[in-house]
């Protein structure tokens, strides 16, 4: 393809149909007569496009993104001619990269491997070799996607997936601009996908945004918080707003407190370079846990479009308050050597790549208030940690005790507080805990569980979070992507905590495999509450 970067005709080969396209574009939104909202069998399919991925040698790309691309293709959700371009500092030809992708797909794809799907997909796989500061490599990339437009009819639509350390963002974004890749010149669209962390505090988040902002308009920036792609997380909205039986009790009149937990059983593994200086609060609390809080606490959006949803989330996040005394309202810790799941593991400070005087926390807990009529006085306890007994993410609404129990005190000794638990991972589902009479006794009430498991009701249709999110990016559907305002609100909440911790001495040690630092338990005990068992 010999088209010059400045030549709009180069993006789509000149054709008589271009005239029709312009006519359509001029007439505004186009209506597809084959689509009918009642026809629920026909899924949304991405339009012609190229997905350009930076950082293809990373774990995420291999284990999640490449398999997700294949799974989408296998489900018939990618357009004819879809093309996938990798960019990395490897001396690879297209075939080598296709082989890497093939391996990743074979190992990690969710849907069965079909040769015909792979054949068709692999025809559109390309690789461009180079480093991020290499002008020539980016010019090659620009030529490569133009070629794809000509060969495979991808229509000049490019999505750039930056699966790279945030430090490299400015360089890559600058290169995209310099090489003309970021500019669609009115033909086709450009989208850029970035992964957390979105900065490490408010100032750096703004700086990161400024880097992108100069090159991509805000609606073209897709921030991936893969939690929002999870079916169970989206189900929070269905549970709350599609049902009649939960919303009436979803408030301070009935809820005693809320616990949002994200526990990981493993330590930091090979992520030392990333994790040191970041810590649990910045790593997962600022994004995942606050998003879960927002979905749990927000008011009903007027519609399920991106704007209404984000508006409600932003509203409730802006009502989040920190405890007056950060010393008693927060807790942090570092896992020390211990026994985790039957194996002896090293402490955080002994991990490779972690300085022995690191003050990075691997466990963070904080009590937040939500200053709205619905939630006034109901504490939201957030905790996130590594080196805990098991891997588990959940939202638990703990209800108040019944105001009066017409039973003898001894009958209800084993009755706890009612709870509604939304299990995000693993074993996605919902548990309701309530009291029930023990059979055979005169009247003895004990806690029982009622369970809904996603795995039982809808096993195989549940797509991976990345599948859903990638498709949404390619379609251009933004509801599941947090906006810059949400990111900034998250940092606004956490920055004072981080500042306070920084002025503090050292995180408290807790043995790996235990339930977290004693100060976290003490924080709950002061409020007369306990953490749910991990």
């Amino acid at each position: 393809m010999t088209a010059e970067p400045g030549d709009p005709e180069g993006l789509i080969p000149a054709s008589p149909s271009a005239i029709a396209e312009q006519a359509e574009a001029a007439s505004g939104a186009l209506v597809n007569p084959l689509r009918d909202p009642r026809d629920r069998r026909i899924p949304r399919v991405a339009g012609p496009c190229v997905l350009v991925m930076f950082g293809v040698t990373g774990d995420l790309a291999r284990k999640k993104l490449m398999p997700a691309v294949y799974d989408l293709a296998n489900r018939g959700l990618l357009p004819p001619g879809f093309s996938f371009v990798g960019f990395a500092r490897r001396d690879w030809a297209d075939e080598d990269f296709a082989q890497v992708t093939y391996q990743a797909v074979k190992e990690h794809a969710r849907t069965p491997f079909r040769d015909s799907v792979w054949q068709q997909l692999s025809e559109g796989v390309r690789f461009v070799s180079g480093s991020f500061d290499d002008d020539e490599a980016f010019d090659q990339l620009a030529a490569c996607v133009k070629e794809l437009d000509a060969e495979r009819g991808t229509g000049g639509n490019y999505a750039f997936y930056l699966s790279i350390p945030p430090g490299a963002f400015p360089t890559v974004v600058k290169q995209l601009k310099r090489s003309g890749l970021s500019d669609s010149e009115g033909r086709g669209w450009r989208r850029v996908v970035i992964e957390k962390p979105f900065g490490h505090d408010l100032a750096s988040a703004r700086q990161l945004n400024a880097t992108l902002d100069g090159v991509f308009p805000p609606e073209a920036v897709f921030r991936i918080d893969h939690y929002l792609g999870k079916e169970t997380v989206q189900n929070i909205l269905a549970l709350r707003f599609a049902n009649e039986m939960y919303e009436p009790i979803w408030n301070r009149g009935y809820v005693d407190h809320v616990q949002i937990t994200m526990a990981e059983d493993i330590g930091i593994g090979g992520r030392a370079g990333y994790y040191d200086g970041i810590g649990a609060a910045r790593d997962v609390m600022q994004n995942h846990l606050l998003q879960l809080l927002a979905l749990t606490a927000m008011e009903e959006p007027v519609a399920f479009d991106a704007d209404s949803l984000r508006m409600e989330k932003e509203k409730v996040l802006s009502a989040v308050r920190l405890p007056a005394d950060l010393a008693t309202g927060t807790a942090r810790g570092q896992y020390s050597a211990g026994w985790q799941g039957g194996r002896q593991v090293r402490g955080f400070l002994e991990e490779d790549g972690i300085p022995s005087d690191s003050r990075t926390e691997t466990y963070a807990a904080v009590r937040l208030g939500v200053d709205t009529r619905r939630w006034a006085g109901v504490p939201f306890y957030l905790r996130a940690g590594k080196g805990l007994p098991r891997r588990m993410t959940e939202i638990a609404l703990i209800f108040q005790r019944a105001p009066h129990l017409p039973f003898a005190a001894t009958d209800t000794e084993e009755l706890g507080q009612n709870a509604l638990v939304i299990r995000i991972q693993p074993d996605e589902g919902i548990t309701v805990r309530f009291g029930s009479k023990v059979p055979g006794t005169a009247m003895e009430v004990r806690d029982v569980n009622m369970d809904f498991a996603y795995g039982e009701s809808f096993t195989e249709s549940s797509p991976e979070a990345y599948e859903r999110l990638l498709l949404d990016v390619l379609i251009g559907d933004p509801p599941l992507f947090p906006r810059q305002a949400e990111v900034e609100l998250g940092w606004r909440i956490l920055d004072p905590v981080e500042d306070f911790w920084a002025s503090y001495t050292k995180p408290e040690q807790y043995p790996a495999g235990s339930g977290g630092p004693a100060s976290a338990d003490a924080m709950m005990a002061r409020d007369g509450r306990v953490w749910r068992r991990l």
């Binding site: 054709s15 029709a20 084959l34 004819p80 079909r114 068709q120 009819g153 039982e456 195989e460």
Partner: protein, 302 residues
């Protein structure tokens, strides 16, 4: 585990299922529907197998109604499979003698409580599914015109008898094609003057796609014949030339658009487990199917 009960009753079956579940250590949880399969001994294996595979996505109680010798004493034999066929449970009901005419009396007490019922005829279907005693209990009635000797005629019969909740697997088979066609027209496209659907002779799915395209696009879409396999081509005439979606090998389709490079996409044929899984995904009436069926019947009368 598999439990065989001969000359039995529905209450004995219910009892056996409850006990089997208890022995496996769990109550029936998360059962999302009851699927009644009306079939015969020869075809039951494939149908039940497809249903158990689909059961991984939609854990269900599968009731296979198999009619045996219509003459002689009434007798009910049951074969219960729990635990090894996936998350749901399967009960094969073999009905002998006059009981075969009253299968609904056997099925009614065995429907899982509180969840929808779907009836599927993998082969022969009644001319009016809704009026059938086993179709009457179901929210959704699934037939398969492609299994009939005269598919087109069967579709026309189904069109006359159509009631909301009816659906046919030949319509289900059209989904990947229709998805691709809809996606093709998501892009700006030139005026469509007429269309054509090419497929092997007895292919009710092609008939439905042609009818669907002609009602939605308000153009004439004749149905032509090719050697197959299945549907081989859908094309549109435009003032700029022909837009074609061709799938000669039953696996990969090529989209040709005047003035643009050819684009290829995987478009494979699906097995019955896939089809029935799609059918069970949505249980509300498929109005678009109803309209298409009517259009097909109307178009035929011209």
């Amino acid at each position: 585990m598999t439990i065989d009960l001969t000359d039995t009753t529905t209450s004995a079956i219910t009892e056996a299922v409850t006990q089997a579940r208890r022995r496996l250590g769990g109550p029936a949880s998360g059962m999302v529907l009851t699927l009644i399969i009306v079939t015969d001994e020869a075809a039951q294996y494939d149908a039940v197998r497809a249903a158990s595979q689909a059961g991984r996505e939609h854990p269900s109680r599968v009731l296979a109604v198999i009619t045996r010798k219509p003459k002689g004493e009434s007798r009910l034999d049951a074969e219960i499979r729990v635990g090894d066929t996936g998350p749901g449970e399967t009960i094969l009901l073999r009905m002998y003698g006059p009981l075969g005419q009253h299968a609904d009396s056997v099925v009614a007490p065995l429907l899982a409580p509180d969840v929808p019922v779907v009836t599927w005829w993998p082969d022969e279907a009644p001319s009016s599914p809704r009026a059938d005693s086993l179709g009457g209990v179901a929210q959704r009635r699934v037939t398969d015109a492609a299994a009939s000797d005269a598919p087109k005629e069967m579709l026309l019969g189904l069109a006359t008898a159509y009631q909301p909740g009816d659906t046919d697997l030949s319509w289900t088979r059209s989904t990947p094609w229709r998805t691709l066609l809809a996606a093709t027209l998501d892009q700006p496209y030139p005026e469509l003057l007429s269309g054509e659907v090419l497929a092997e002779a007895a292919n009710p799915t092609a008939d439905l796609i042609a009818a669907w395209l002609s009602t939605r696009l308000r153009i004439s879409v004749p149905r032509g014949e090719s050697a197959g396999p299945g549907i081989t081509e859908v094309s549109f005439d435009t003032p700029e030339g022909k837009i074609t979606l061709a799938r000669p090998d039953g696996r990969t389709a090529t989209l040709s658009w005047p003035g643009r490079p050819d684009r290829r996409v995987a478009l494979h044929r699906r097995d019955s487990a896939d089809l029935i899984a799609e059918e069970l995904r949505r249980l509300e009436p498929d109005e678009v199917y109803g309209e298409t069926l009517h259009a097909l019947a109307g178009g035929n009368g011209q």
